[in-house]
């Protein structure tokens, strides 16, 4: 347990200090959302209708982009060798890194949502609904993205290729995240069903993500 808390603390420190990438994700999220009115026009009614979709897409891209260096940074400085060699099971170490990444890069996105909801003309309840679905869904994004981040170690490159590999896998999260938000806002459909499925997706990726990432890291070292 000490080992895992030490790993989480270290990753949080590295992410939040100078040179860490945590806050760039929020900045990217903000920029994407600000770009939207320029693409679809400053029509407040339309933006209100698209609001949850825009926020979810922004969060999806932001969490994917910040994941890029999750393992490659440790691989480049040699830490990954020691993590693989250690007595801590690699799956748990991967899960710990994912948790640290989510705390440093995912939670700020959720915290920023109310401000961005304001820009998109979402009312308080709608913003709360989107933030709630992001809270339930972003862990799944981090955990699926982690598989791509682990493959990036083998590929010696991340970036676009990583996005191409991971984005199709995150389609279910996007579908149920936006559906649950819209259901909460319009009240026409049931909120419970898509929201429960969203939580189920996060739980399922809690198993699949670390196992696949650990397998990829074990097979990908050289």
């Amino acid at each position: 347990m000490t080992a895992l808390t030490a790993l989480i603390r270290r990753d949080l420190h590295v992410a939040l200090r100078v040179g860490g990438g945590a806050l760039i994700g929020v900045l990217f999220f903000l920029t994407v959302v600000v770009l939207m009115p320029f693409a679809v026009g400053p029509d407040l009614a339309l933006l209100k209708r698209l609001g949850p979709a825009i926020l979810w897409l922004g969060a999806l891209l932001a969490s994917l982009l910040t994941l890029d260096r999750l393992f490659t940074a440790d691989h480049d400085d040699g830490s990954l060798d020691l993590i693989v060699m250690s007595r801590t099971p690699l799956e748990l170490a991967c899960a710990a890194k994912a948790l640290a990444h989510w705390l440093a890069a995912g939670v700020p996105l959720i915290v920023a949502t109310p401000v961005l909801g304001l820009l998109l003309n979402l009312d308080g309840a709608a913003t709360l609904a989107v933030a709630l679905t992001l809270l339930a869904g972003t862990p799944a994004l981090t955990l699926t993205g982690m598989i791509g981040a682990a493959l990036a170690v083998t590929m010696h490159r991340g970036g676009l290729l990583l996005a191409v590999l991971v984005l199709p896998l995150s389609i279910p999260v996007l579908i149920f995240g936006v559906a649950a938000s819209n259901a909460a806002i319009s009240g026409a459909d049931a909120f419970g069903a898509p929201f429960s499925i969203l939580c189920a997706l996060s739980l399922a990726s809690l198993v699949i993500g670390p196992v696949a990432a650990a397998a990829s890291l074990r097979h990908g070292l050289d």
């Binding site: 080992a3 030490a6 270290r10 100078v18 040699g78 830490s79 060798d81 020691l82 070292l221």
Partner: protein
């Protein structure tokens, strides 16, 4: 205890690096792996560390712990220092001590042993290559492991650093540890040679 490798064969990127390699190192003994560039010195260390899977043969520890793998009883000091520039010298060391399961307590003695205690609070980004190497060496002292796998350990060190490292290795051997080091330069301690990959 004894670290043995039997009939090891290593294939990387579709190319055979070495084959039919045997070695054995006893407690208190240091093995210096030498050979030309590309002969597989680093590959051999990574095989022992479990970071590469041998195409044939096996590595085993005899008389060590039954529950731990070879990798879990070993320290690996590679080319890269496993340091985070954003963290201070002390934070870097205490992270590895906690993660690798070292005894809790102050990290300053280990830093003092490698001569870095006066800059323990500085970010690792400010360290020179030699100082980074010393900080990596402190990791070997903060967590006790019987097997040291060292890849060109003295490359970035000046004369004083090399002498210091020789003394640390000597202490480790006297306490019953064993060392496998890939090296071009003399280590400054009594070693047995293992030459791989034919004449240099």
């Amino acid at each position: 205890m004894r670290l043995v490798g039997r009939r090891l064969r290593c294939v990387r990127g579709g190319r055979e690096v070495f084959s039919d390699l045997d070695f054995s190192v006893l407690s208190g003994e240091a093995l210096a792996v030498t050979g030309r560039n590309g002969a597989g010195k680093t590959s051999l260390l990574r095989l022992i560390a479990g970071l590469l899977v041998p195409a044939a043969g096996q590595v085993a520890v005899e008389g060590g712990s039954d529950e731990l793998t070879t990798a879990e009883q070993a320290h690996y000091l590679g080319h890269r220092d496993a340091l985070k520039p954003a963290l201070s010298v002390r934070e870097n060391l205490s992270f590895w001590r906690d993660f690798l399961g070292g005894a809790r307590g102050d990290t300053l003695p280990a830093l003092a042993d490698v001569g870095l205690d006066h800059i323990a609070h500085l970010p690792a980004a400010y360290l020179s290559a030699g100082q980074r190497r010393r900080l990596s060496m402190a990791r070997l002292l903060a967590v006790r492991r019987p097997i040291w796998l060292l890849d060109e350990p003295t490359s970035a060190l000046d004369a004083a650093g090399q002498a210091l490292f020789a003394r640390l290795m000597d202490d480790h051997l006297r306490l019953g540890g064993l060392i496998v080091a890939a090296t071009h330069a003399p280590l400054g301690i009594a070693v047995r040679d293992l030459r791989i990959g034919g004449p240099a």
